[in-house]
């Protein structure tokens, strides 16, 4: 695994001691400054003390619901929150993302996956200030400033909606983008509407930018949640 671009303050809130220890060793080895909390209350007071740049939050906590912690933190903190959850609990993931979490990781996960997600989240929170003009993923180039897309050096013509979707996905490269985030960007509404229309647009988008549209590589489906643009 490559080293992070820079060290960052990370807060881990998890009730499992073994997970805390594992995360501590994985992260400190890579020069992250790690603080550990075993309960929601401890996590929130540590968040105020250390002002972390990223929070790793487990949804099952002994003293309170992880979703509640997520909601509380979001009232004042803008740093990304990465949720740890068990497989098959889609509704919790969606609720956490709706409450302001930025991404999730399903247990059991590997160190490589965790570090990749953290890098993506940290990069994104930086790029909120400095927007990258151009993003490269394999043979695909997306120029956000000029609103142009190239596949193998050739211009791809996209509709306005398709470009909006692609740019939001690309800005959140390697991070999950929920149906709700997309709908808000495209139509400015916060209502929960059927994701079917979005899926049709994404399907058309895939046909234009994927080397093999039948087997998508860049725009991956996060079942029940949204999409994720993978550049790796």
């Amino acid at each position: 695994m490559s080293a992070p671009e820079r060290s960052a303050r990370v807060l881990v809130i998890d009730d499992e001691e073994s997970i805390r220890r594992a995360l501590k060793s994985i992260l400190s080895m890579r020069k992250y400054e790690v603080s550990l909390a075993g309960t929601g209350a401890e996590g929130m007071s540590l968040a105020i003390e250390t002002n972390p740049e990223l929070v790793i939050l487990d949804l099952t906590l002994p003293d309170m619901d992880g979703l509640e912690v997520c909601r509380e933190l979001r009232t004042w903190m803008s740093s990304p929150i990465l949720i740890l959850s068990v497989r098959g609990n889609e509704s919790d993931k969606i609720r956490a993302l709706d409450l302001g979490a930025d991404d999730y990781l399903t247990k059991p996960f590997s160190a490589g996956e965790l570090l990749a997600r953290m890098r993506a989240l940290l990069r994104r929170s930086e790029s909120r200030v400095v927007q990258l003009p151009e993003i490269q993923a394999g043979e695909l180039t997306v120029n956000l400033a000029r609103r142009q897309v190239f596949l193998k050096g050739e211009v791809v013509s996209l509709t306005k909606t398709e470009f909006e979707i692609l740019s939001l996905l690309v800005l959140n490269v390697n991070c999950v983008v929920t149906y709700r985030m997309l709908a808000e960007r495209l139509w400015g509404d916060r209502e929960d509407r059927e994701p079917q229309l979005l899926r049709v647009h994404v399907s058309n988008l895939r046909k234009k930018i994927e080397p093999n549209p039948a087997l998508p590589r860049f725009i991956r489906t996060e079942p029940g949640i949204g999409f994720r643009f993978t550049a790796e």
């Binding site: 497989r87 098959g88 889609e90 059991p108 994701p195 079917q196 899926r199 399907s203 093999n212 549209p213 039948a214 087997l215 998508p216 590589r217 991956r220 489906t221 079942p223 029940g224």
Partner: protein, 561 residues
């Protein structure tokens, strides 16, 4: 205390039936009137006989002079035969006597006296009386024999129908329904109640027709007595045909045996089987208040006996079924146990060995060696995680919590996710053949990818390393099929069905590490949840071809192209 167990919908249903029947009778107005007269005549036979003769006399009198006295005698004979055919021989004899007198008084001169002047009329009178009595006796007996034949036929038909229907019946409640409906059809009692006696002796009302009628205060006592003595209670009328009252210990005793002053028209019958008392059949008195005859009581007993046999058979079948399930469950439990202990213990012991070896500290390991050891630790962990998630799938499967969250997706989207989750080495072995213009499929994304993952993992595990595994999809007539082929040894003909059973591991799987033997079971269950199926075929030239089918309802052609 008495507990009322009656499905309200059932009660309503039968009310409707009887209403329908009533409506039917009214629509056949004539028959209904005839039946009413007949019923009335049967209830009050002697009043009917004398009444009819009286009415005939009143009718005849104004025309006394139009016909000869002999003609009137013939008309009286006609009246006698009507009485005989409607009410039987004894009323006919009464009619004959009354006619004899009225003919004498009103139609033989001098009128209005018993005196007869003409000696020839004495002979006529004598002949009239003899003929009248003979008509009464013969036609009455004929009628009684006919009635007996009719009732026997009716009873036979009832028992036949009951046997036929009981064969097709599922449970006690349905049986009680059918029994009550048949009894209602033949006897029209005011109510019928079927009480079930459970193994502990507890009595519950299983089914009742017109059961909303209140139970009278003595009913509970009668039921209690029947349950204790295993004997019926009934006070039948003496059989008109003179049939002997049956003997033996099983016959019902009259109500007065229990309560000397009580006279009732209802019937309590024990529902018996070879293992004892199964229930009590309580039939209320007839709506027309005609008491039950002995032969009818016997018929009811036969019906109750059938119900008893049915209940016994039903109970035995139920316990056989339970035993079977228990046995299956035991087998499954021990299979799970051995599979789980094998699948969890093997990687655990190798993990423990590897890690404790590294921790020993007696040797200075070089980083390359440590990396190698850790790679094997990682492999063991993957295997553990895989087994655990299969077991979780299985427990969800057992809990029937597999409710698919259906959505329309592109087949490649799901397949892409599955491939993405494979190891690099495994992914390189898979070739995907997806034609353009595939339809959308309606599946639960997570479950469908689990299904594909299980089959793909099987294909990869059971074929030589380096060999190709091909995944394809397309339409097969109206169904959407996904197929996965490998170049492994294939599955022998006899094992093709068995691979779907839990924990079955094929003849070759012994050579391979890992595998809980659950993958294909889970895959098949997921396919079923989607109303689809999984089929195993031979691949040409070698290997296995697994075909997953989705029904047309889960397939939609895309609008464009």
């Amino acid at each position: 205390m008495f507990s009322l167990f009656l499905h309200p919908a059932v009660g309503r249903y039968y009310d409707e039936i009887s209403r329908k029947e009533r409506a039917n009778l009214i629509s056949r107005g004539k028959i209904s009137l005839m039946m009413k007269i007949r019923q009335w005549a049967e209830n009050r036979p002697f009043l009917f006989a004398s009444g009819l003769v009286g009415a005939a006399t009143v009718l005849f009198l104004p025309g006394r002079d139009l016909l000869g006295k002999g003609h009137w005698a013939l008309l009286y004979l006609l009246v006698i035969s009507v009485v005989a055919s409607v009410a039987g021989s004894r009323p006919a004899l009464v009619a004959a006597m009354v006619s004899f007198l009225t003919w004498n008084v009103f139609f033989l001169p001098p009128y209005n006296t018993f005196r007869v002047d003409d000696p020839k009329d004495w002979i006529s009178l004598g002949v009239f009386l003899i003929v009248g009595v003979l008509i009464g006796l013969t036609s009455g007996r004929l009628r009684e024999r006919e009635a007996l034949a009719v009732s026997q036929e009716r009873e036979m038909a009832l028992l036949n129908r009951l046997t036929g229907r009981l064969l097709a019946i599922q449970g006690p409640l349905e049986m009680a329904e059918v029994l009550c409906a048949e009894i209602e059809g033949v006897f029209s009692p005011r109510f019928i109640r079927f009480h079930l006696i459970e193994s502990g002796g507890r009595r519950t009302l299983l089914f009742g027709m017109k059961a909303e009628l209140e139970m009278d205060p003595l009913e509970e006592d009668f039921l209690e007595w029947v349950a204790r003595n295993v004997k019926g209670v009934a006070s039948p009328a003496a059989d008109p045909s003179g049939a002997n009252r049956p003997g033996g210990s099983g016959i019902p005793v009259p109500h007065s045996t229990l309560f000397p002053a009580v006279s009732r028209g209802d019937v309590f019958l024990p529902v018996l089987s070879s293992s004892g008392l199964e229930g009590i059949l309580h039939v209320g008195e007839r709506r027309n208040q005609v008491p039950f005859s002995w032969s009818e009581i016997q018929l009811l007993s036969a019906a109750a006996h059938m119900a008893g046999l049915f209940l016994e058979r039903n109970r035995l079948e139920e316990s056989a079924r339970q035993a079977e399930t228990l046995k299956e469950g035991d087998k499954l439990k021990s299979a799970i146990f051995s599979s789980v202990s094998h699948e969890l213990k093997t990687p655990l012991s190798s993990l423990t060995a590897t890690i404790s070896g590294l921790l020993e500290g007696d040797l200075a390991w070089d980083p390359d060696h440590i990396r190698q050891e850790l790679a094997s630790v990682r492999k063991d962990l993957d295997r553990l995680a895989h087994s655990i998630s299969s077991l979780l799938d299985l427990s969800r499967l057992a809990a029937e919590a597999w409710k698919p969250n259906l959505q329309w997706v592109e087949p490649g989207e799901v397949l892409g996710e599955v491939l993405f989750r494979l190891d690099r080495a495994d992914r390189d072995r898979v070739r995907v053949e997806l034609p353009k213009g595939l339809p959308l499929i309606q599946v639960d994304f997570q479950q469908w990818s689990r299904l594909l993952m299980h089959i793909l993992e099987n294909a990869l595990a059971y074929s030589p390393p380096e060999s190709r595994v091909v995944v394809g999809a397309g339409m097969s007539e109206t169904k959407f099929e996904t197929w996965i082929t490998d170049e492994g040894p294939g599955i022998p003909e006899g094992e093709k069905e068995k691979v779907f059973t839990k924990f079955f591991r094929g003849s070759f799987s012994g050579l391979l590490p890992g595998g809980t033997g659950l993958g294909l079971t889970i895959a098949l269950e997921i396919a079923k949840v989607h109303e689809g199926s999984v089929r195993i075929e031979d691949n040409v030239p070698r290997g296995t071809r697994v075909v997953i089918l989705l029904p047309p309802a889960h397939v939609r052609e895309t609008e464009e192209r």
